[in-house]
């Protein structure tokens, strides 16, 4: 049995269903992420775990015990709020001591625990400062240290890095991974940032419109999206939709309007005529100037209509004669040249049957 069992949990606000029959099991020691666009229900779900909101249906079990009827102050879970919510009238030490005092920790033990917590979040020497004397990243660390000092069963993090700038965010991501490994406490992390989710998590639940679209490891979510929404939301993706033209030998051919027949490897056995989608990551597409000498499974000519130069890589938007835009990504790896192609160049895009991922609709 998982540490936290979310069973068929539903939450409605008037006519709007924020969380719709969600069932998730979160294991002890896991770094679990709820990922989705704003309004997908991820924060509502987190607030129900913390106890700030109550489900209209379903149960939330922690260690097998139903959490219903237990107010937030009596749940062994702690929340790190997006706004940090540090107490402005207390020093860093005062903030970290607060949950210890609430838990009636003997006064003699408190200083050592504060010191340990501040060391965990690399804030030694900041104990006497007030929150307004700290930077955003330091405030965030105080919030995390304060939440961890009583060794809760679970830490809930509500978009904790959203207010930080990109450079600091990356630094804090690494720190969070290490911290979670060190303290061994289960983290439930809420974010709308898919790169953050992919980098941090052991498992991700991708949510949309109150439902879990896919629950899996980051690499599986990225490579094998189960739905069109997941494919589109996580990273960049070419989505080719059309009716199935023919099947056989584990390969399906899709008749994609504006592009032509596209072949993809799949175990799916859909009858011809039923709709399907192929999700194809830009980095899996081969883009070159001349026609390939081998005979690739999928192969189209086109011209570079647009490009995004990103430094390490360039994203090329290739227009095919039929009017389809194919997005391909190529590392700027050739020495002596900034990038391979310019807008207007005639190019050849190709990919193998197993490059794309077939999604039934």
């Amino acid at each position: 049995m998982a540490l936290l069992e979310i069973e068929n949990v539903t939450r409605r606000f008037g006519a709007f269903t924020a969380v719709d029959k969600v069932s998730i099991g979160i294991e002890a020691g896991e770094f679990f992420t709820l990922l989705g666009p704003s309004g997908c229900g991820k924060t509502t779900l987190l607030r129900m775990i913390a106890g700030f909101d109550l489900p209209d249906g379903g149960r939330i079990l922690l260690n097998g015990a139903d959490l219903a009827g237990r107010p937030p102050e009596q749940r062994p879970v702690r929340t790190v709020f997006q706004s940090y919510a540090l107490f402005p009238h207390m020093t860093v030490e005062g903030n970290v001591a607060f949950p210890l005092q609430m838990a009636k920790t003997p006064a003699v033990e408190i200083p050592a625990k504060i010191a340990a917590a501040l060391e965990d979040v690399r804030l030694v020497g900041f104990g006497k400062r007030y929150p307004h004397e700290l930077s955003g990243g330091q405030k965030q660390r105080v919030a995390i240290g304060r939440a961890l000092v009583t060794h809760p069963t679970m830490l809930l993090l509500d978009e904790p890095l959203a207010a930080l700038d990109a450079k600091l965010r990356e630094e804090m991501q690494l720190e969070l991974i290490n911290l979670q490994k060190e303290v061994g406490i289960t983290f439930v992390y809420v974010t709308h940032d898919q790169t953050e989710a992919l980098a941090l998590s052991h498992r991700i639940a991708v949510m949309n419109k109150g439902r879990v679209e896919q629950l899996d490891e980051p690499s599986k979510i990225y490579s094998f999206p189960k739905t069109r929404f997941v494919a589109d939301f996580i990273g960049q993706c070419n989505l080719f939709s059309g009716p199935v033209a023919a099947g056989g030998y584990g390969v399906v051919t899709l008749d994609v309007p504006a592009l032509g027949p596209v072949r993809v490897a799949t175990a799916s056995k859909l009858p011809p005529g039923s709709p399907g989608t192929i999700a194809l990551r830009p980095e899996k597409i081969r883009i070159q100037a001349d026609a390939p000498i081998d005979t690739p499974d999928n192969h189209y000519r086109g011209t570079v209509a647009d490009l995004l130069y990103m430094g390490d890589v360039t994203v090329y938007k290739v227009a095919t004669p039929g009017g389809m835009r194919v997005e391909a990504l190529l590392a700027n790896s050739q020495s002596g040249r900034a990038k391979f192609f310019e807008v207007g160049d005639a190019v050849d895009v190709s990919w193998s049957v197993d490059a794309g991922h077939f999604i039934e609709e």
Binding site: F52, E73, Q74, F87, A103, E133
Partner: protein
């Protein structure tokens, strides 16, 4: 001017503009506050006139200034006693106002935005009728034939206790003092509580604090600036008030304000009245200073100025 070179003309222009704006109120305060205060200080060293007012400043070619009135204040303990009693009345008033105003201000701050203006309007509604009329209204409410006195004395009689008069008592004075000053406590408290961040209370609850702990550890300390502002607005006027004890109090309820009024209008001993006024002003300033000093020590934390500097 933070060291930046500015065109001279612009600098003088802005300085002239500043004086133009702040001049009239300064002149007003100088004429009607500073100069009268100085006259009062001077009067406190003079001799009372035979038929009231002041004896001539130059008597037989020599300046007549003395410390007689001050000596009288410090030698006759009755005045110090009345003074202490006034401080007590003002302290009680402040405390009762705080206890009554805090829940009310919280209620207003937490009510939906569209009701807030209405509730605030209700708080300041009493100001629309005259202060004295409102004090006289309490004479009727507390009068011996009013329902309140009858009920109270009915209950007391049931317990075999003699009837008590509600009017012309310290009870009546205190009730009316609290009534009159309550809005001055509610408004600054509301202004403070309205700005509180709900996320802090959520965080405190998440960290294990129950409702009581959330109040004493988070809400109350953060509301202290509002509490101090309200306390000053209630305590200082309550300390010098004379109308309420005059109308609703008994002979025992004379406060320092009544004695001062008496010295000027009845006894006609202006120097001694001036001494009492000066002592009252100095005491009010000293208590306000003490409160500010205690506040800084207790808060320790970011006052708004420190926040601004950081």
């Amino acid at each position: 001017m933070n060291g930046k070179p500015k065109p001279v003309a612009a600098a003088t222009g802005s300085r002239f503009g500043r004086w133009l704006v702040s001049g009239p109120p300064l002149v007003y305060l100088l004429l009607f506050f500073a100069i009268p205060s100085l006259i009062m200080v001077l009067a406190s060293f003079r001799t009372p006139g035979e038929f009231g007012g002041l004896a001539p400043l130059f008597e037989g070619g020599r300046l007549d200034l003395n410390l007689d009135s001050y000596a009288r204040f410090f030698s006759e303990t009755i005045y110090a006693q009345i003074f202490l009693k006034s401080v007590w009345y003002a302290l009680f008033t402040t405390l009762f106002c705080l206890v009554l105003a805090y829940p009310l201000a919280t209620l207003i701050a937490k009510s939906p935005k569209r009701f807030r203006d209405l509730l605030l309007l209700l708080v300041i509604l009493p100001f629309w009728s005259n202060f004295l009329i409102r004090v006289y209204a309490w004479m009727i409410i507390l009068g011996p034939n009013a329902a309140l006195a009858r009920t109270v004395n009915g209950v007391l009689a049931w317990f075999g206790h003699e009837p008590v008069p509600l009017l012309f008592s310290s009870f009546a004075v205190l009730v009316c003092l609290v009534y009159v000053h309550l809005p001055f406590m509610v408004l600054p408290l509301y202004a403070n509580l309205e700005k509180h961040d709900q996320a802090l209370l959520d965080a405190a609850q998440d960290l294990g604090a129950n409702a009581w702990q959330r109040f004493w550890r988070i809400t109350f300390p953060l509301s202290l600036p509002g509490v101090y502002a309200g306390a000053a607005l209630v305590f200082i006027p309550a300390l010098g008030i004379f109308a309420i004890p005059d109308i609703l109090g008994g002979p025992e309820d004379s406060l320092i304000g009544n004695v001062i009024k008496q010295q000027f209008l009845e006894t006609r001993d202006w120097p001694f009245g001036s001494v009492l006024s000066i002592v009252l002003t100095v005491a009010a300033l000293a208590l306000a200073g003490l409160a500010a000093w205690v506040a800084r020590g207790r808060l320790g934390a970011p006052s708004s100025t420190r926040e601004a500097r950081a």
